[in-house]
C-alpha cells in the first residue's frame, strides 16, 4: 500500500473523527474543561499550601498540567477505538479497498490535533492565572515537540488497550487505572523531594516525571534542562513498541 494512499486514507479518517467532534463537542471535554478545572483546583485550592523552591507554584504547575492532559487524553483514544470495534462501521472499512491501518492512524493523528488544542487552551488559561514562563521560543517549540511526541506515543498505547479489551467501559477503567497513579506519583503537582523515599524512588524514575521535568525546564527557561534525554527516549521507545503492537492487536482483533 503506497504511502500516499495511506496518508489520504488517514486524512479521511481524521475528517471523520473531526465530524464526530463537531456533532458531539463533549468529546473535547477531556482536553478543555477537565484540565481547566485541574488548573483552577491546584492554582487556587491546593497551590497556596505547596511551597516550591525557586519559582511560583503556578509556574511549577503548568508543565504538570500539560503532561497530565496529554496522558488522560489517551483514555478517549482507547474508548473511541473500542467503541468503533463494537459497531458495524469497522466491517465497512474492512470491506473497502482502503489502507486498513488508516483507521487507527487516523485516530492517533486526531489525538495530535487534540493535544495541540489542549496545549493552546492550557497556555492561555495559565497566562490568565499568573503563569509567566521565561522559556525562549526555541524552548517552547521543544516543549511542544516533546509533549506531542509523548502524546502520540501514548495514543498508540491507547490503541493497543482499545484493541485488546472487549468493551469501551473496560478500556476506560484500564487506562484510567494506569494513568492516574503515574500522573499523581510524579513531579506534576509537588516536588518529588517531599515524598517518602520509596515513593520518591518510583516517582523519579517513571516516564511522566522525566517528560514533565523536561517540559518544565524548557518552558521556564531553566539553564540546564533536566531529563531531556530520558524524556525523548521514553517518547521514542513507547512509540517503537506500541506503534507495531497497536497495529498488530488491531489486525488480530479484526480478522477473527
Amino acid at each position: 500500500m503506497s504511502l500516499r494512499w495511506w496518508l489520504t486514507d488517514s486524512f479521511e479518517m481524521v475528517r471523520r473523527n473531526l465530524l464526530h467532534i463537531r456533532r458531539t463537542p463533549e468529546l473535547l471535554l477531556d482536553v478543555t474543561v477537565q484540565p481547566i478545572m485541574f488548573v483552577l483546583l491546584f492554582r487556587y485550592v491546593f497551590g497556596g499550601a505547596i511551597p516550591i523552591q525557586g519559582t511560583s507554584y503556578v509556574n511549577y504547575l503548568m508543565a504538570g498540567i500539560f503532561v497530565q492532559t496529554i496522558a488522560f487524553a489517551t483514555i478517549y483514544t482507547g474508548v473511541l477505538l473500542a467503541n468503533d470495534l463494537t459497531k458495524g462501521m469497522i466491517d465497512r472499512f474492512r470491506s473497502l479497498p482502503m489502507s486498513q491501518s488508516a483507521v487507527i492512524t487516523g485516530r492517533t493523528f486526531t489525538d495530535l490535533l487534540r493535544g495541540m488544542l489542549a496545549i493552546a487552551v492550557m497556555t492561555v488559561l495559565g497566562l490568565f492565572v499568573g503563569f509567566s514562563p521565561q522559556g525562549s521560543p526555541a524552548g517552547w517549540l521543544g516543549a511542544v515537540g516533546i509533549l506531542l511526541l509523548f502524546g502520540f506515543a501514548l495514543s498508540w498505547v491507547g490503541v493497543a488497550a482499545g484493541a485488546l479489551v472487549r468493551t469501551p467501559e473496560a478500556v476506560q477503567g484500564l487506562v484510567f487505572t494506569a494513568v492516574f497513579p503515574l500522573t499523581f506519583a510524579s513531579s506534576a503537582f509537588v516536588q518529588t523531594s517531599t515524598m517518602p523515599s520509596w515513593l520518591r524512588a518510583f516517582a523519579e524514575h517513571q516516564p511522566m516525571t522525566y517528560v514533565i521535568n523536561a517540559v518544565r525546564g524548557l518552558v521556564l527557561g531553566q539553564p540546564n534542562v533536566p531529563d531531556l534525554a530520558p524524556a525523548l527516549l521514553w517518547g521514542i521507545g513507547l512509540l517503537v513498541i506500541f506503534f507495531p503492537l497497536g497495529l498488530w492487536l488491531y489486525q488480530r482483533r479484526t480478522t477473527q
Binding site: R23, G88, D91
Partner: protein
Amino acid sequence: MILAEGLHKHFGKTHALRGLDVDASEGMILAMLGPNGAGKTTAVRILTTLTRSDAGRAEVAGIDVARHPAAVRKQIGVAGQTASLDDLLTGRENLAMVGRLYRLDRSDASRRAADLLARFDLDDAADRTVKTYSGGMRRRLDLAAALIDSPPVLFLDEPTTGLDPRSRLDMWSLIQELAKSGHSILMTTQYLEEADQLADDIAVVDHGRVIARGTAIELKRRVGGERLEVEIAEDQSLDRAAEVLAALGEEAARVDVDHRRVSVPIVAHDGVLTRAVRALDEAGVRADDIGFRRPTLDEVFLALTGQPIDGEPNPEAPA
C-alpha cells in the same frame, strides 16, 4: 463471479461452515436461503475478506479471497444486516467518505453520493445524521454505500430483515434493478418468499452446508407436484370436505385446521376443479376459496431438512 468450494469455519466448538460450496455467474442473483445460524453470514464474511476460512477456496471476480483480499475489495460492495454506517455523520457524509475510501476523487465521490441519495429516495434526509434515520432508510443508505464505486459484485446479507413490508418491497425492486444493470449479487435471506421473488438461483443452507440448489421452481418440484386446495367457510365442514377431496385426489387430504384449509395432491388439471366444486356443493360444504397450489419454499425446506425454516436448529440433524 463468485465461487466458494469446500469452505470450513469453526468458532471454538461451533462449526459454522462444514464444506460449503456456492457459485454465482455474472449478472445473476444467487440467494443463500437458510435459518438463523445456518452459516450464511459466515460464508458472506469469508467471501468479503472479513473472516478467513479454515479450509476451502473462495474467489470473487476470479481473485482468490485469502491471497489477495485488497484486490477483492476493489471488486465488491457489501451491505449487511447491521447497516455499517456512521451514526454521527449525515447520509451524504457517509457516502462521500466511503467513496473517498474506494479511491474516488473528492468531486466524483460527492457527485456519486448525490446521485445515489436521489436514486434511493434519501434526498430529503441527505444532510441529517444517520442516527435519525428509520430502519428502511438505513438499509437503503447502506446499500447506496455499497454501490458508490459501482463494484461488479454485491453481497447483501439479509437485506430486508427487520424491515416493514413497504420498505421490503422497495428494497426488492432496488435489488432487481441492480441485477438488471449487470451486478452479480449474492444475497442471504431467511425469507422463502424473498428468495422466490428475487433469486435466479437458490442455495438452501443448513448447518454450514448447501443441502439443495436450483431455481425456485426446481426446488419446489423436488417436494412433489401440485395440490388442489380449498378454504372452507365453516369449521364443522372440515372433515366432510376432506372426504370429498380425498375421493378426487391421489391420496388422503391434508387438513390445516388453523386456516380451515384442505388440500390433496393431484396429477392432472382436466376437469378436477369443476368436479371438486360440484362435489363440495353436493356434500353441503361451503368453500371460500379454491384453487391449484404449488408447494411453497417453506414446504421445500421442511421436506429437505425435516424442520420448518423458522424452527430452532435441530441438534440431531445429520451434520
